[in-house]
C-alpha cells in the first residue's frame, strides 16, 4: 500500500497488534503501513491510546508478553523480515541496528548500575569490544551528546544526573553501536521546554551527521513541524494520514489532522477568541466498530463513514484514510490554519481584546500578593545542617476580578508553591496575600473559612486528584454540605446536577466513579467542584497539561466561557506558553523562584524584553514547518541550577546569553521598562 521505495530502510506493512486482556482482545494497532528511508526523519503523531508507541514496541519485538502480539502484517528492516523472526536473531538486531529512546528519562536507566556500565553493555555485547575499547567509546559517546567530564561521569549513577542529562545518556546508549534506525518515543515529553529544545536539536544534528534514520513519536505538533520530513498521523490504532510535513500542516486531507491542528493554541498566529476543538472523546478501543473510528467526532460524517475507510494513495506520495478527502482539498498557496472557514467563528479579536484589557486594569485588585517568599528547609540527615530551598523569592503581583493572570515558568520556578500559598495550603516565609484588601495572615479562623469558599482550585492531575472510592456527585456535593450551602439533600442534588451541566457533563454522571470517566471528563468534575461555591478566584494549577491535545482545547474553552459568564478571576499556572497566551490577560514569567518579567499578554508575547522570556519563546516549536524552517535556532544552553544551590546575583545569569560579570553582583530589581511592562534585568 505504501509505495515500495526500493530504498526503504524499514517498512511496516498492514501491521496489526492485538492485546489479550481479561475483558477480551483489543486491537491497539490496526493495519498500519508506513516506511522510512535511510537517514530520513519520520514523525508519528497521535494522542494517547492511538497506538503510536505500541507500533514502535512491535518493531523492536518488545511487546508485553504474553498479552501483546503482532496479529497481522509484516515489518521489513534492511531486507530482513522481522515479523516471525526468531527471538535470538531479533535480539541481535536490537540495540545494534535499531535503537530506541524512551519517554521517561528518570526511570529508563537502571538506578544501581553506573552510567558507564550501562553505556558499555551494548558495545561489549554486540561489537564484542574489550572493556578498554568500550570505555574509550563510552567517553567518546558522552562527549558526543554534550556531557562534560565524561571520564568522571562514567563512574556515576543515574541519580547524579538531571532529567535532561539522563536523556542525553539514553541517546548515547542508543547511538553506541551506530544503529541504522533510532526510534524515539516521546523523548522530551517529561522535560522542560528549554531542555526539550536542546535534546531535540542534539538528536537531529547527530542523526543527520551519522546518517541514522529517526522515527520520532510525539503528540506535540510543534516538534513535528520543526523536525520531521514525513509524518504519519494515527488515531484509534489506525494511520489516518501520511505525507510530508508541509503537506500535512499546510493542507491536511483528513478531518482529524485538521481538527488537531486547529485545536492547539499557537504562538505564531493571532490569538483567537475561542479555540476550535474536536468535540467528544477518542473511542473506547474495546468497542471499536467496523466504520471510521473518527466518524462520531467528525464534521464531515455521512452514511458512508459506517464503512472503514482505506488509506488511499493521493498524488504527490501522500495518503489519507477518509471517504471525504476530496472535499478537503485546499486551494494552492493557502494553509489550513489560515483558511477563512476556520476563522469565521474563531474571530481574531486583536483590537477588541485590547479594549478588553484596558477596561479592567484600573479597577481594584481582587487578589494581591506582596513580596511573597517561601523557603523550604531540607534536612539531609538527623545531624546535618538543613539546606534551604528558596522556592519563591519576593514575588508580587495582583489579579483583578474577572481577569486571568498567567504564571509561567519551567519546573522548579516556584509557580505551584505560589498557588499553594494563596490557597493557604503552605505557610508564607515572608510577604502578604491580600484578598479583597484583607490580609489573609491576619484573618480570623472564621474569615479564613469564608475565604476558602471564595478561592478555589483546579489541580493538574485529574487521575489522582479525585478520590476513586467516592461517586462524582458526592465529590462535588461534599463541600456544599460541609459549608451548609445547601440545606436539603434535594437541594444538594439539584445543585450538583446544575454544576455538572455547567461544565458540559450529563447529570447522570453524578452516579459514576472517577475511573469510569475519561481524563477530560474528570477535569470537568474538578472544575465543577471548584465552581460549587461560585468563587471569585480559581487557582488553576496546570489544569490541561495532563490532557490530550483535542481534550485540552475543550477544557480551555470551558474555562474561558465560565470566566465570561461568572466573572471569575483565574490564576493560571502553566508551563505551556501558548496555552497561557490564549487564556491570560497578564502574564508573570518566573525562573528559580523569582519574577523575570511581568506584562500584559500582547506586550509579553509581542515584545518580550527579558532574555529568559525570549529564550522560552524561541524554544517552543510552532506547528508550521515553513515557519520553523526559517526560524533561527538559538537553543539556550545549560541546565536549570539545583534549587539548593544559591545563585549569586541574577538567578538566570548561568544560562543567559547576555550575561556578564555585573549580573552576578546583585539581584536585578523588577523595573518598569515600558508602561505596564516590568522586567528584572540590568541589561535593559
Amino acid at each position: 500500500m505504501t509505495s515500495k521505495r526500493c530504498t526503504d530502510l524499514l517498512s511496516v506493512r498492514d501491521l496489526s497488534v492485538e492485546f489479550r486482556t481479561e475483558r477480551g482482545a483489543i486491537e491497539a494497532v490496526r493495519r498500519v503501513s508506513w516506511a522510512i528511508a535511510p537517514g530520513e526523519m519520520l514523525a508519528i503523531v497521535g494522542e494517547s491510546g492511538s497506538g503510536k508507541s505500541v507500533s514502535a514496541l512491535a518493531i523492536m519485538g518488545l511487546l508485553a508478553k504474553p498479552a501483546g502480539r503482532i496479529s497481522n502484517g509484516q515489518i521489513v528492516f534492511d531486507g530482513q523480515t522481522l515479523t516471525g523472526m526468531a527471538e535470538r536473531d531479533l535480539r541481535a538486531l536490537r540495540g545494534r541496528d535499531i535503537a530506541m529512546i524512551f519517554q521517561e528519562p528518570m526511570s529508563s536507566l537502571n538506578p544501581i548500575l553506573t552510567i558507564g556500565r550501562q553505556i558499555m553493555e551494548p558495545l561489549r555485547l554486540h561489537l564484542k569490544m574489550s572493556v578498554e575499547q568500550a570505555q574509550a567509546r563510552a567517553i567518546e559517546l558522552l562527549t558526543l551528546v554534550g556531557i562534560s567530564d565524561p571520564e568522571q561521569r562514567l563512574k556515576q549513577y543515574p541519580h547524579n544526573f538531571s532529567g535532561g542529562m539522563r536523556q542525553r545518556v539514553m541517546i548515547a546508549i542508543g547511538l553506541s553501536c551506530n544503529p541504522k534506525l533510532l526510534i524515539a518515543d516521546e523523548p522530551t515529553t517529561a522535560l522542560d521546554v528549554t531542555i526539550q529544545a536542546q535534546i531535540l536539536e542534539l538528536m537531529k544534528s547527530l542523526t543527520e551527521r551519522l546518517g541514522i534514520a529517526l522515527v520520532l513519536i510525539t503528540h506535540n505538533l510543534g516538534i513535528v513541524a520543526r523536525y520531521a520530513q514525513r509524518v504519519v498521523v494515527m488515531y484509534a490504532g489506525s494511520a489516518v494520514e501520511q505525507g510530508t510535513a508541509t503537506q500535512i500542516f499546510a493542507n491536511s486531507r483528513h478531518p482529524y489532522t485538521r481538527g488537531l491542528l486547529r485545536s492547539v493554541p499557537r504562538l505564531d498566529l493571532p490569538r483567537a477568541r475561542q479555540l476550535e476543538t474536536i468535540e467528544g472523546q477518542p473511542p473506547d478501543m474495546r468497542q471499536l466498530g467496523d466504520g471510521c473510528a473518527f466518524a462520531p467526532r467528525c464534521a464531515y460524517r455521512t452514511e458512508i463513514c459506517a464503512l472503514a475507510p482505506q488509506l488511499v494513495a493521493l498524488p504527490e506520495n501522500r495518503f489519507s484514510a477518509c471517504h471525504h478527502e476530496a472535499q478537503l482539498k485546499v486551494p494552492e498557496g493557502q494553509s489550513v490554519a489560515a483558511l477563512a472557514e476556520f476563522q469565521s467563528d474563531a474571530t481574531c479579536v486583536q483590537s477588541g481584546d485590547q479594549a478588553d484589557i484596558a477596561k479592567n486594569s484600573g479597577s481594584a485588585a481582587l487578589l494581591t500578593v506582596d513580596s511573597l517568599t517561601k523557603h523550604f528547609k531540607v534536612k539531609a540527615g538527623m545531624f546535618s545542617q538543613p539546606a534551604v530551598v528558596r522556592a519563591v523569592q519576593d514575588v508580587s503581583f495582583s489579579i483583578q476580578a474577572g481577569r486571568t493572570l498567567g504564571l509561567v515558568g519551567e519546573s522548579g520556578c516556584g509557580k505551584t508553591t505560589i498557588g499553594r500559598m494563596i490557597l493557604q495550603l503552605e505557610q508564607l516565609s515572608a510577604g502578604r496575600v491580600l484578598f479583597e484588601g484583607e490580609d489573609l495572615a491576619l484573618a480570623s479562623g472564621a474569615q479564613i473559612q469564608a475565604l476558602r469558599t471564595q478561592i478555589q482550585v483546579i489541580f493538574q492531575d485529574p487521575y489522582s486528584s479525585l478520590n476513586p472510592r467516592i461517586k462524582v456527585g458526592d465529590l462535588i456535593a461534599e463541600p456544599l454540605k460541609v459549608y451548609k450551602k445547601t440545606t436539603t439533600p434535594q437541594a444538594t442534588r439539584e445543585r450538583v446536577q446544575q454544576l455538572l451541566v455547567q461544565v458540559g457533563l450529563l447529570p447522570e454522571m453524578a452516579q459514576r466513579y472517577a475511573h469510569q470517566l475519561s481524563g477530560g471528563q474528570r477535569q470537568r468534575v474538578g472544575i465543577a467542584r471548584a465552581l460549587a461555591f461560585e468563587p471569585k478566584l480559581i487557582v488553576c494549577d496546570e489544569p490541561v497539561s495532563a490532557l490530550d491535545v483535542s481534550i485540552q482545547g475543550q477544557i480551555i474553552n470551558l474555562l474561558d466561557e465560565l470566566q465570561r459568564q461568572k466573572n471569575i478571576a483565574y490564576l493560571f499556572i502553566a508551563h505551556d506558553l501558548a496555552v497561557v497566551r490564549h487564556l491570560a490577560h497578564r502574564v508573570v514569567v518566573m525562573y528559580l523562584g523569582r519574577v523575570m518579567e511581568v506584562a500584559d499578554r500582547d506586550d509579553l508575547y509581542g515584545h518580550a524584553l527579558h532574555p529568559y522570556t525570549m529564550s522560552l519563546l524561541e524554544a517552543v516549536p510552532v506547528p508550521d514547518p515553513n515557519l520553523e524552517r526559517q526560524r533561527l535556532r538559538k537553543t539556550i544552553v545549560g541546565e536549570i541550577p539545583s534549587p539548593l544551590r544559591r545563585v549569586a546575583g541574577c538567578v538566570f545569569h548561568t544560562r543567559c546569553p547576555r550575561a556578564s560579570a555585573e549580573c552576578q553582583e546583585s539581584v536585578p530589581e523588577l523595573r518598569e521598562i515600558r508602561p505596564g511592562h516590568f522586567a528584572a534585568c540590568i541589561k535593559l
Partner: protein, 317 residues
C-alpha cells in the same frame, strides 16, 4: 561513612537506655513476687523472717529508684547480677543457651534464603504459571501453619516412618557436628519454612514490580540476553526489599522460639524466657529483653549499612 556509623552507634545509647528503663518499670507493674513463688510456691511453710531475709539478700526490699540505679549501673558495667531463681549469674544462664538459639536462627535463615530467593524469583518471572501457583499454595501454607505444629508433625513423622527420633540432648557443633545437626536441623526446618514463605512472597512481588520498570525495557531494547536482563538489571533491584525482611525475621528468631523449643525439647533462649516470666525472675528477664533489643538494633544497623553498599542512591554522610 565512618561518621555515619559513629552517629548511628551513638544513637544506640539513648535507645537502649529507654528500653532499660521501660522494661524495668513494666516488670514491676506485673503482679507476683519471685521470693513468694520460690519459697512458698509449693505450699512450703516458710517463716516471714526467712522471706524478708531472702528479699534483703536479693536487694528487693530497697526503694525502686535504688533498684533502678543498680540495674542501670549493672548495665553500664555489663554486670547483670544473678538470677533470682537459680542464684547463678544471669550472664552464665544466657551464655549456655545463646549458642543453640543462634545456631537455629542462622540455619533457619540460610534455609529460608536458599529456598525463598530462587523460588520467589521464578514465581515472579513466570507469573500465573504453574510454578507460581504451586509456590502460592506452598507459601500460604507456610504462613498459615504454626511452626510448633509443623515441628510436632516432623517429630511424629520421623518416629512413625523411620522409627527414629532426633536426639534430645544438646551437643555443641564443635563437639559432634553430626549429632548436633541431626538434632537442630528439624527445628530449623520447621521455623525456616515460615521464614522462607514470608521472604518468597516478598521476592515474588518485588520481581514482578521490577520487571515492569522502564529500565528493564531499556535493557531489552539494548538487545541483551533475557538472562542478563534478569540477573544484572532486575535482581539487584528486586532483592533490596527482601534484605529488610530477612534481617528483621532473623532478629526475631534470635529472641528465641518459645513454643518450638518446647516441641523439640531444646534448652534455648525461648525456653529461658518462658521460665523467667513464670518465675518473675526480673533480673534475668531484664537482661533477656536487653539482649533482644541489642540484636534488633545491631541487625537493623547492619541492614542499613548493606543498603548503602548495594544501592548507590543511598549515601551515608
Amino acid at each position: 561513612m565512618g561518621a555515619y556509623l559513629l552517629k548511628r552507634l551513638l544513637l544506640v545509647i539513648p535507645t537502649l537506655l529507654g528500653v532499660a528503663v521501660l522494661v524495668f518499670f513494666m516488670l514491676r507493674v506485673v503482679p507476683g513476687d519471685v521470693i513468694e513463688l520460690k519459697l512458698r510456691g509449693d505450699g512450703g511453710n516458710v517463716s516471714a523472717q526467712v522471706v524478708a531475709q531472702e528479699r534483703e539478700r536479693l536487694g528487693l526490699n530497697r526503694p525502686l529508684y535504688v533498684q533502678l540505679g543498680y540495674w542501670l549501673k549493672g548495665l553500664v558495667t555489663l554486670d547483670f547480677g544473678i538470677s533470682y531463681w537459680t542464684n547463678r549469674p544471669v550472664v552464665e544462664e544466657i551464655g549456655i543457651r545463646v549458642g543453640l538459639t543462634l545456631q537455629v536462627a542462622i540455619m533457619s535463615a540460610v534455609i529460608a534464603v536458599l529456598f525463598a530467593i530462587p523460588l520467589g524469583v521464578l514465581a515472579g518471572l513466570y507469573r500465573n504459571s504453574w510454578i507460581d501457583y504451586c509456590l502460592r499454595v506452598v507459601t500460604i501454607a507456610g504462613l498459615a501453619v504454626p511452626s510448633f505444629w509443623l515441628g510436632m508433625m516432623i517429630v511424629l513423622g520421623l518416629l512413625s516412618l523411620f522409627s527414629w527420633s532426633p536426639p534430645v540432648t544438646y551437643t555443641p557443633f564443635y563437639v559432634d557436628p553430626i549429632a548436633n545437626l541431626s538434632q537442630l536441623i528439624w527445628p530449623a526446618l520447621a521455623v525456616g519454612y515460615r521464614y522462607s514463605a514470608v521472604v518468597a512472597r516478598l521476592v515474588r512481588s518485588s520481581v514482578i514490580e521490577v520487571m515492569s520498570e522502564d529500565y528493564i525495557r531499556t535493557a531489552r531494547a539494548k538487545g541483551l540476553f533475557e538472562r542478563t536482563v534478569v540477573i544484572r538489571h532486575a535482581l539487584g533491584n528486586a532483592l533490596l526489599p527482601a534484605l529488610t525482611v530477612v534481617g528483621l525475621e532473623f532478629a526475631f528468631l534470635l529472641g528465641g522460639l518459645v513454643v518450638t523449643e518446647q516441641v523439640f525439647n531444646l534448652n534455648g533462649i525461648g525456653r529461658l524466657f518462658v521460665d523467667a516470666v513464670a518465675h518473675h525472675d526480673f533480673n534475668l528477664l531484664q537482661a533477656l529483653v536487653m539482649l533482644i533489643a541489642v540484636m534488633f538494633i545491631a541487625i537493623n544497623l547492619l541492614v542499613d549499612l548493606l543498603y548503602g553498599v548495594l544501592d548507590p542512591r543511598i549515601l551515608y554522610k
